[in-house]
Symmetry: D2
Subunit: 146 residues, 4 copies
């Protein structure tokens, strides 16, 4: 519940900043963040794992059934300028890893802590509040050389 509240607030802040929200389009954290964004008039794109458009949560402005299943996680990261990881799903961890691998700005909030054989990964930014998460990811995106 706390997680859903965090996600909804992140979505609302992203919409207020004029950002488009791309997610896996299903329930839980995905649905909560879309609800927050849609409530502020934001665009919400869902990249669904299956082929049924109606699997998307009710807060999507565009529901795209990819049929790519878990590989659509890579598409969520690939089509985004940056990412905010919320919660502890394995799918979320795969997105964290791919964002780090491809150099996309990533902020984690109430999410995975990962420790490589060389030690904790300082590169992964961890914050406590939706406000910090959104501010940090947007400024990292702006700071990136285009």
């Amino acid at each position: 519940v706390e997680e859903a509240r965090t996600a909804e607030r992140v979505g609302a802040l992203l919409a207020e900043a004029g950002a488009i929200l791309i997610s896996g389009g299903l329930g839980g954290v995905m649905s909560a963040s879309c609800k927050g964004a849609a409530g502020r008039g934001g665009q919400t794109i869902g990249l669904l794992p299956g082929w049924d458009r109606t699997d998307g949560n009710p807060y999507l402005t565009v529901s795209l059934p990819t049929g790519l299943h878990e590989l659509r996680n890579g598409l969520v990261i690939g089509t985004s300028d940056g990412a905010i990881a919320i919660g502890g799903g394995w799918g979320t961890l795969s997105e964290v890893a791919l964002a780090m691998r491809t150099g996309k700005p990533l902020v984690a909030i109430r999410s995975w802590v990962v420790t490589s054989p060389e030690g904790p990964q300082q590169a992964l930014s961890v914050v406590d509040t939706p406000e910090e998460a959104v501010r940090e990811v947007l400024s990292a995106i702006k700071a990136k050389p285009q």
Copy 2:
């Protein structure tokens, strides 16, 4: 170096067990495990990120340029019956996450330690030696209902 020795030994043991080795097909841990497998006459399939077949390491029996880039990590897991994670690359972490997400037997050796918001993931099997890694993943694959 220790990591490469571990990977080479894992490859050799897999080939001795008659397993086909599927990897990302490039250098480092991938190349070392293929070297070990090929040295025992094993099949080694490389799912390359780009389009150039010659990017594959010299120990591949089949080099497949997918052009899927990081999404080929999902293909490495999807086409395998189980996985052994070695080392601390972000690509490896994405494969760990996808294996857990899709319920594939996975063993980690000198690799990532991951902690979800709910605590350390006991589900992820961590071992110390190539012998344990190969024995454990093969017996988990055999135990799986088909």
Copy 3:
């Protein structure tokens, strides 16, 4: 030029009907159809082959860089309820084939004519005007059992 005019008119008619236009997001027929749709306030989603969002044409409301290259053609079809093929590019032909293969309503206008070893494919609907194309594909989508 005639082809671009056809595409722009198709885009405009789709937007008027309230449809979301999904395309490969680049120039030529893709750009012309997006121009037509955007001019009527329609949503235009571009599934780009590469990773650079700015490769998208200026009429996209959502530009999604997939990094899937030619495989994104399959995504254009997979995320759509039906398709209108315009023009004679090989990429268009791959989309025609995948739409037929997956049973998506498809209408061709100034596009490929294909003949299988068993003879011309009557299943492929060919029309002469944008009005017919849009009317036919929308009614075929509505007629489909959900």
Copy 4:
């Protein structure tokens, strides 16, 4: 039946030439060509649409369940140096289109005839016998600048 005989002969000739045969790995033309190749000791790689390795035909030396469904057609072309199209399936047509789009040598035998709005596509090589098909595609591959 004639089609299967053609496919089996093509597979046998490819194996004799030392080529690795990559296909969609299922039945019909795919199975017949693998049977021909395997009978001469050739390698046969199957890129299956689903996730079940046992869906592959019995003549595969490596069965790879991709879970990519129709998008695996693009992977069949992308991982190959050239292609021989046999028969009139829509999946085959998508592979013909993608091979032409990406500049891979392609020979068609008892397969699709395609006519763009600009006229018949002379670029597509059509032959009558397995011997011509294999000879032509292999020499086109060798002639290609690497």
